[in-house]
Structure formats: structure tokens, C-alpha cells
């Protein structure tokens, strides 16, 4: 069960690693500005009943065109079980591709839909007592939808994650509402606040988790962004041991060109 929980959590955070630009823990269909060519990294601290996990992923997206983006995510993970020593190393690597399926632009507003495919490789070691990697190949196929105006941002993503080795597939869904706290000017400072929900449903055995994730984002200039999110579980169905207490995310994104 612990292994399943860690795998599930691994899938969960990996798929959320590259939420592009605002929002913080949900994908965005807008591949512009800070969501374009750049680097994203954040530290994520996960407190569970029997273990604490620290993850430091680095994500690198690249816009081939304004409609087509590819990228890779390289996570480093530290696991500290209760009454045991810390194990660390590089976890499972993910490559992804996003393609814009639909776009409707208006004055100071946009509505976009993307197709998203991710492939995760079992590059993280599984030989130690606290497994860093899942040991699984995973293929995720999903849709990202977003509507953005200067007053509010509404985003959702959902998709099916296929795993090998007779492990259960899972359905992942996220929803986000973002509101700017400062007037939208360019390139002045921006402060955004988010309320997000992050769900994961594993089919066999049936395990359902939902987190509520309030967060803040500060953009001090054209090319850099800082963000933080606090994730609290509101649903942990069929998880009897090693439940998640909370997760804290602190990160940055910056453009490299």
C-alpha cells in the first residue's frame, strides 16, 4: 500500500510539475511569455504519516511554434521514512508534448484548448528500501482547457494515465481559479492568487484523492516568476495508512531567452 501510495503521489506530482505559468498546480493552455521557452523549478515538501518526501523537479519547455511545445522534466527526490535514513536520487524522467487544438481570442481575453501527451520513464532507482522511482512506464493523454481575461483565469486539465506491469491506470483532474490582485500592466509587478483542486482516481484498487491548493504568485518583471502553494487533502478514500498530511510548494520560473 505504501508503494502504491508513493507511486500514486509520484504520478500526481510529476503530472503537475509543469503547470505552465499561472496557474500553479494545474496545466494551462496558454504557451506564451513565461509559459514559453524557459525553466521551471520548485521545491515540494510532502508530509505523510510515515514518511516525508522532498522533490525538486526541473522542467524545461521549448516552443517549436506558438501552437506546439515539447519539454522534459527531471525530478530529484529525497525520501525520509520515520525512524529511518534518508534516501535520495533522480526520480522518473518525463517528456511531454502540447499542441493547441482550439483558440478563440478577443479583446483582452482568450479561450484555448490543448492536447497533452506525457511519457514517463522508470529512470529512478527502485532497489533501495525507499523507492525513488516508480519502476513503471507511464503514458498520459489529456486535455487542457483555459479561459483567461484580465479579471480572472479559469483552467482545467484532465486525462488518463496508462501504466505497465499490471499496475492500475488512473484518472487525473485539476481545476484552478486565478485572480490578479494588482492592475494588469506590463511590465509592472504582478501578484496573483489561486484556488486550485487536484484530483487523482486510481481504478484498481479504487483510491481517490483530492487536494485543495490555495496559492500565490509574484511576477516582479518580464522574465521571472515566484510562486507558492499549500496543498491540503480533502478526500483520501480507501487510503488507510500513510495518509498525506499536507504538501508545500515553493518555486520559480524564468525565461532563458
Amino acid at each position: 500500500m505504501n508503494r502504491l501510495a508513493i507511486i500514486t503521489l509520484g504520478i500526481f506530482f510529476t503530472l503537475n510539475v509543469f503547470a505552465q505559468g499561472p496557474p500553479i498546480t494545474t496545466e494551462t493552455p496558454i504557451m506564451l511569455g513565461l509559459e514559453g521557452n524557459g525553466v521551471r523549478t520548485f521545491g515540494k515538501f510532502i508530509s505523510k504519516e510515515n514518511v516525508t518526501i522532498y522533490v525538486q523537479p526541473i522542467g524545461i519547455p521549448y516552443n517549436i511554434t506558438s501552437k506546439f511545445q515539447v519539454g522534459a522534466i527531471f525530478p530529484f527526490k529525497l525520501i525520509t521514512p520515520k525512524d529511518s535514513r534518508t534516501t535520495g536520487g533522480f526520480a522518473d524522467m518525463t517528456v511531454f508534448a502540447k499542441y493547441q487544438l482550439y483558440k478563440k481570442d478577443g479583446k483582452a481575453k482568450t479561450f484555448r484548448i490543448l492536447g497533452l501527451i506525457k511519457q514517463t520513464f522508470p529512470t529512478g532507482k527502485t532497489s533501495s528500501s525507499s523507492t525513488i522511482g516508480s519502476g513503471l512506464y507511464q503514458t498520459y493523454i489529456g486535455i487542457v482547457i483555459g479561459k483567461l481575461t484580465t479579471k480572472i483565469g479559469l483552467y482545467t486539465d484532465f486525462g488518463y494515465n496508462i501504466t505497465n506491469k499490471n499496475m492500475s491506470d488512473n484518472f487525473i483532474y485539476n481545476f484552478s481559479v486565478g485572480v490578479p490582485l494588482l492592475p494588469h500592466k506590463y511590465p509592472q509587478k504582478q501578484l496573483n492568487t489561486f484556488l486550485e483542486f487536484n484530483g487523482n482516481y486510481v481504478f484498481d484498487p479504487k483510491v481517490h484523492t483530492v487536494f485543495i491548493s490555495p496559492g500565490f504568485q509574484f511576477i516582479p518583471g518580464r522574465r521571472i516568476l515566484f510562486e507558492t502553494s499549500f496543498q491540503i487533502p480533502i478526500v483520501q478514500d480507501n487510503i488507510t495508512t500513510n495518509k498525506t498530511n499536507y504538501m508545500v510548494l515553493l518555486g520559480t520560473r524564468f525565461l532563458i531567452n
Partner: protein
């Protein structure tokens, strides 16, 4: 002899006058500014504007760029001699991931919201 010197002097002065006049005109023409207002649909967030600004900066002759996210407008000042075409600007907006709307060229500056 006196007349020849006088005529030569007048001719030289005239040449200097016309030469300086034509140089002044040429300088005025090469430094002349055109103001451009581009309506950009889909420009709904400040962090989205960076890609557009970057692509507009690559244009030759661009002096200044100001982006108004609330109104979805990009204001440019450009040397008239290197003024981009409407088609060029529309392609830049499209390549940046937005939808171009109107492009207006003017000899006079536009009234920007912040400057009112």
C-alpha cells in the same frame, strides 16, 4: 574680372545653400517618426506580453514599444524610413501566438491611457 569673381562667389554661395538645404531635408526624412497602434486579440495577461514584445523588438527601426494589456494594444514608434508593413506586423502578432486585429499608422502620437 570683378564680375567673374562676383558671379563665381554667388554660384558657390548658392551651391552651399542648396546643399545644406537638401542635407537638412534628408536628415529630417531619415529621423522622421511614425507612430503605430496594433490591436492584439488574446493578449490577456502581462506575462503573455513578453513574447510579443520580444518579436516586435526584432524589427528594424523600432524606437519604442509600449504594451497596454487592459486594452489589448501594442504601441510602437518607428523610423518612417524603416516603417514595417501592416502584413509584417500581423505576421509577428500571429507568430507570437495572438490574433491580429487593426493596425493604425499615424504621424502624430497616440493618446496612451497612462499619459492622459
Amino acid at each position: 574680372m570683378k564680375n567673374t569673381v562676383k558671379h563665381t562667389g554667388l554660384l558657390v554661395l548658392s551651391l552651399i545653400f542648396f546643399f545644406s538645404l537638401s542635407t537638412t531635408n534628408a536628415q529630417t526624412s531619415s529621423n522622421e517618426i511614425t507612430y503605430v497602434k496594433v490591436e492584439v486579440k488574446g493578449l490577456a495577461c502581462p506575462f503573455c506580453a513578453y513574447g510579443l514584445e520580444k518579436k516586435l523588438k526584432e524589427l528594424k527601426g523600432i524606437e519604442t514599444i509600449k504594451i497596454d494589456v487592459e486594452e489589448g494594444l501594442a504601441y510602437l514608434t518607428t523610423l518612417t524610413s524603416q516603417k514595417p508593413t501592416k502584413e509584417t506586423l500581423e505576421k509577428i502578432v500571429t507568430d507570437a501566438g495572438f490574433t491580429p486585429s487593426s493596425v493604425v499608422f499615424s504621424k502624430k502620437p497616440f493618446n496612451l491611457k497612462d499619459e492622459n
